[in-house]
Symmetry: D3
Amino acid sequence: MDSTKTERFKKGWEKLKEIDGQAGVNVIESLKNVSPDLGKYTIEYPFGDVYSREILDNRTKEIAVVAALVAMGNASPQLKVHINAALNVGVTEQELSEIMILMSVYAGFPSALNGTFTLKEVIEERKEEK
Amino acid sequence: MDSTKTERFKKGWEKLKEIDGQAGVNVIESLKNVSPDLGKYTIEYPFGDVYSREILDNRTKEIAVVAALVAMGNASPQLKVHINAALNVGVTEQELSEIMILMSVYAGFPSALNGTFTLKEVIEERKEEK
Amino acid sequence: MDSTKTERFKKGWEKLKEIDGQAGVNVIESLKNVSPDLGKYTIEYPFGDVYSREILDNRTKEIAVVAALVAMGNASPQLKVHINAALNVGVTEQELSEIMILMSVYAGFPSALNGTFTLKEVIEERKEEK
Amino acid sequence: MDSTKTERFKKGWEKLKEIDGQAGVNVIESLKNVSPDLGKYTIEYPFGDVYSREILDNRTKEIAVVAALVAMGNASPQLKVHINAALNVGVTEQELSEIMILMSVYAGFPSALNGTFTLKEVIEERKEEK
Amino acid sequence: MDSTKTERFKKGWEKLKEIDGQAGVNVIESLKNVSPDLGKYTIEYPFGDVYSREILDNRTKEIAVVAALVAMGNASPQLKVHINAALNVGVTEQELSEIMILMSVYAGFPSALNGTFTLKEVIEERKEEK
Amino acid sequence: MDSTKTERFKKGWEKLKEIDGQAGVNVIESLKNVSPDLGKYTIEYPFGDVYSREILDNRTKEIAVVAALVAMGNASPQLKVHINAALNVGVTEQELSEIMILMSVYAGFPSALNGTFTLKEVIEERKEEK
């Protein structure tokens, strides 16, 4: 089965590039040797099915995802990808730091502080890239 | 010290009533005998300081908080309060069930399913109250 | 779109009935009013895509899933479903209580004890049903 | 092997009765049919080995354990047992509610609130028993 | 608003310097560009409000916080700060390694081992600084 | 007390060498200065008591443990040790990547992806060692 031909895969691949840009493509690339099927599923389910839904706009989706990843506190590479994604779809730095403040209430100050330092790191990396 | 007189407390008390309504007031009431100070802090910091900030609107705040509580999966009474709060400030049932679907990607299907069943419970309780 | 017609859906629906039996069907049923799409995704991705893979046999899958749910400790309804599923596909009660003992090392005694009490509950319910 | 004869088991059994009282004995009893070995290990390792160590006194141990269980937020039966244990070894109600306030900083307000409500429940149960 | 003038801020700032020393000051400094308000709140609520309470002494507070952070297992920079803080207020190295042993029971051996290796790292850094 | 002489210790030490090989020995070595007692307990309880049980075979144990550590997502050094241990006792790379795919359902895609990247790292390290 050439799974790359399914509609879900194609839609997911476009969505992944739109939202996560090169960082998302790199994640899929780096799965190639070890687990191409997890790569395929990552494109199909999260992006082809879920992110392609249109009830919440991209900004709202990224705000929810960043909040969740900060609260979980154990998915630091994904938090970085989604802070970038949030900035890509128009969430401002100020709004992102606001989500971290909100999380100090629900997940505690360590999660809020670690989320804020990841935000700082992303902002600095994006400045350097310009 | 009559802490109920601080500006933060007053502002927080109004905010708590605006967002969480009677459910929020009940939480504070039920703390009275066991930990009035935690009640005071709950009004002052989460509501007086954090919820009173105006960079994110109430809808956006509740979307972020519901996502985080679903992802954490261990704060079920607070999830119920915030699903109600989200509905109170204009987040629709459909948008809330959309957040749960989004969380299936980041926190797994058990969290998404449990969040959705809590949403169902809240929707039914609100129907009965009318 | 009549999503129930996709191949993944059909395969997933058969797999869900094979593994989880009536308990699985009930979960999907109870999603109908609140989030039919989460029901559809639960059939398609976990069951149609993942459980239908054949590298690990059903016993091994259920052992891994029970271990994970005990360790996470925040998905008690799903743990019950999967203890039943494990018994359905031939994992013995003794093997299940062995997984809980193993989890005392990795996730602590509270998780192991709560997992064991859930196992006890399931065993008793299955006896009553006979 | 009559495991109940090991020194660690005997020491653990005495320690369990000293700290947790009847609630601890009940936990072990209820494991009898489903996992007697987990019961044996619970007596031997947590109580025979760890709780019998004398570098931290009983009060300090219970303060650390209550803080940890509140922060984890997914071990509510064990939190109840240890709030009782803490009260049994001389930690005051006020000190316990102080730990919950401290946890609002590190694990967030939901954990602190749920811990405080569990404390309230335990205090009320102990009043009724008198 | 010159928030640094509130009583809570001043009290918090003194408390932060007393407990966490330079490491605490550095955390606040590094927040300056990205989220000065989270810095302000970190001083005001955790230190100005909570740490300034006098029902538990500093040793007891740090024992509870170290236990909680080890159990949570996802806040490694904060665990380092608080192991240092604990040593600063008179908790001994032996008592700290005792807390890690206690956590092997409640949060599992991985948490206990990771906590112990963080303790080792802090002890070595403090030796080098002398 | 020369604890290294207990039967449980000897049995545990052999089991640890059998399963974890040099990586396991290194963990115990590195505990020597900071917490020899945690080293002793790690040998005695997880290996002497639990891993020496024979109801589940080594393959099944490692599959359960890897699943649990991926799901918890906060014990990355231990996950590496157990991916190695799994490969040592005959779990294949393909079966391990299959467990990660399974965990995408129960603990979300970030856990599955991070687990898969750890697997990739281990596979590469083992190639270099040859």
